[in-house]
Symmetry: C2
Subunit: 340 residues, 2 copies
DNA sequence: CTAATCACCCAAAACGTTTTGGGCAAGACT
DNA sequence: AGTCTTGCCCAAAACGTTTTGGGTGATTAG
């Protein structure tokens, strides 16, 4: 057994400094009233003994461990952290970690804590970030039942009155993309969205329909499971090929779908950008590597992650969150697939 | 203040079931001897009260929190989790998280815990994974002083007798690459390595020199800071251009360097693969996206991460680690830059 | 001169577990 | 008959903090 030798305790510091543990605690935390001379003495002996308060003990006492948890919901439906096509989430996780550290918290990556074999430490986190919850997400039910603060990235549409969320300005982004396609000569714009009932899919569709009705265009909506990857993208291409009145532009939410679709259409002689304009709703390796490279929205997960952590930390110190759209409209990266 | 209402405690379960807390503890953990009838009764009331043991309290008592920490050392020298060029680390982190969860642990991403403002929770982890430690890494000193188990990915070369490490078969990989270059017609092979004194750089250089001496080739070693990115790669190109007896192949450890170098050489009229063969030691977006795409080693961080977590968990249950090369030789992805 | 305030300090309780060191019957051996 | 196991159970201690609720003695106010 690895012996964890001799981490010194507050009691030892107290004995060594000739004061009570109360005084040590006060001296180090700056809470009670303690004479400057004794405070100095305590600080000095603490330093000498290399004393560091035991975070678990103080966590137990304070009911505050100093850990935030991050649950990337869409990954719970994938079979694993795929190396490709998930760079959005990995960037999010990295940025969230750093941001948490800056706020004095550690960040724990978790998968679905409702699973029976979830480590019991899961529920010991001080607060949770849940990205892209599904509608009426059971993870949220669990956390609420346990009284654990949480913040979602992307609204849970089944909880219209729940206010602890943050999300990009999806409606604005959608219009931005659609306008761009129109400006580049598109007359019939279709969208391809995922099947998860999350805010991104649903808000995008709603904005799209609104945009269409303003122009009297008949909406064309194709859906495809987000997990289906480039193969699913090919299926979207298939569906578009079969349409009698084919669209001349597609806004495809996931990058892998966009790449697969473009490949399939290309095989059928429909080239981009000549015959069809394509924009992807999230940037990924596939959109960057396609020929031509596919225009995409970089959702700037770093910005979202920082905002999410900041909001959660605020909630933890007692400032209630009010649902808000984070300071990102995405960065629209215009590449070859949508310009002519 | 968010009120964390009414998580039920073991005491409540005991009262409700009409037994002592000892018995509840034993019944649920399966440790002591308890009559089957009372065990059933306890389990039932625990379920009814939705009792979940408080991980912090049991962590305090057991000196085992159920959290592992991951410190990606090379990122501590970067300014932040860069979105590009660090996909190796992000893949590592993702795979490590999942692997930890499978072993019943949470995984915390940390940066350098020796920093004065590191959250105190940092040292509460049950064990640490340190990737690519620098020589005589102070993080290792700290963890050893605190008696916290750790495992490094890549040896700390300043600690030749320290056995808790794991790493890919760098020597074998190096020879594999060099042989490949030779087979494709290279007569003078150079290497470009980073300046960090970590196992990857140093072992690669040693293997390279050995390989050279076997052939009587004079070694050509260019060094460049890892953090310098594609710009540093251009500097490598510059250096190669200035050589009187120019190499006709370069094995460049980092992907960004390789891409920058190829770009610079191309500008000077030295094309790959016609005039110079190039292989990168780690695959990244830049190697995949260059024209021509650059051959690279995929170090399979997922494999390494799983092995690292497994070894650390073994250490935690008392099986000492013996330094070992993990089951990966890397996956050599041969692209256009190294074939003719 | 007494009472009240103040600055400083501390013992003990509490956080929710796990483990130690028994106690008490009932049955099994001398 | 008494003594030993054995099966089952429990009270209390312990993990290392923070906070509560005083307790001093010295200074100030009445």
């Amino acid at each position: 057994m690895t012996q964890r030798n001799s981490r010194s305790t507050i009691r030892e510091v107290a004995r060594e400094a000739g004061v009570s543990v109360t005084t040590v605690s006060h001296a180090l935390s700056g809470k009670g009233i303690v004479a400057e001379s004794t405070r100095a003495k305590v600080v000095e002996t603490a330093r000498r003994l290399r004393y560091r308060p035991n975070a678990v003990a103080s966590g137990l006492r304070n009911n505050r461990l100093g850990i935030l948890a991050l649950v990337l919901r869409p990954l719970d439906t994938l079979e694993s952290f795929l190396p490709e096509g998930v760079d959005y989430f990995l960037r999010f996780a990295g940025a969230a970690s750093l941001s948490a550290l800056e706020h004095g918290y550690g960040l724990m990556l978790l998968s679905d804590p409702t699973l029976p074999d979830a480590p019991s430490i899961s529920l010991a986190a001080d607060g949770f970030i849940i990205t892209e919850p599904v509608e009426n997400d059971p993870v949220i039910d669990l956390l609420q039942a346990e009284g654990i603060p949480l913040l979602t990235v992307g609204k849970d549409l089944g909880r219209p009155h729940y206010d602890a969320w943050i999300e990009p300005r999806t409606a604005k982004i959608t219009r931005h993309v659609l306008d761009h396609l129109e400006e580049n000569g598109a007359a019939r714009v279709a969208i391809a969205i995922g099947t998860d009932r999350n805010s991104w899919n649903i808000t995008t569709e709603a904005s799209y329909r609104e945009w269409c009705s303003e122009r009297g265009q008949e909406p064309i909506v194709v859906t495809q499971r987000e997990t289906s990857g480039t193969l699913g993208g090919r299926a979207i291409g298939e569906e578009i090929l079969s349409m009698t009145d084919r669209p001349d532009a597609v806004y495809c939410l996931t990058g892998r779908h966009a790449a697969g679709m473009m490949a399939r259409l290309g095989e059928a002689g429909i080239a981009s950008p000549a015959d069809i304009l394509i924009v992807a709703g999230s940037d990924s390796e596939q959109t960057r590597n396609s020929v031509p490279p596919i225009s995409a929205i970089d959702l700037e997960p770093e910005v979202l992650a920082r905002a999410a952590i900041a909001a959660l930390v605020e909630q933890l110190v007692g400032i209630p969150n009010r649902g808000s759209e984070a300071g990102t409209d995405g960065r629209f990266i215009i590449r070859g697939s949508s310009q002519r």
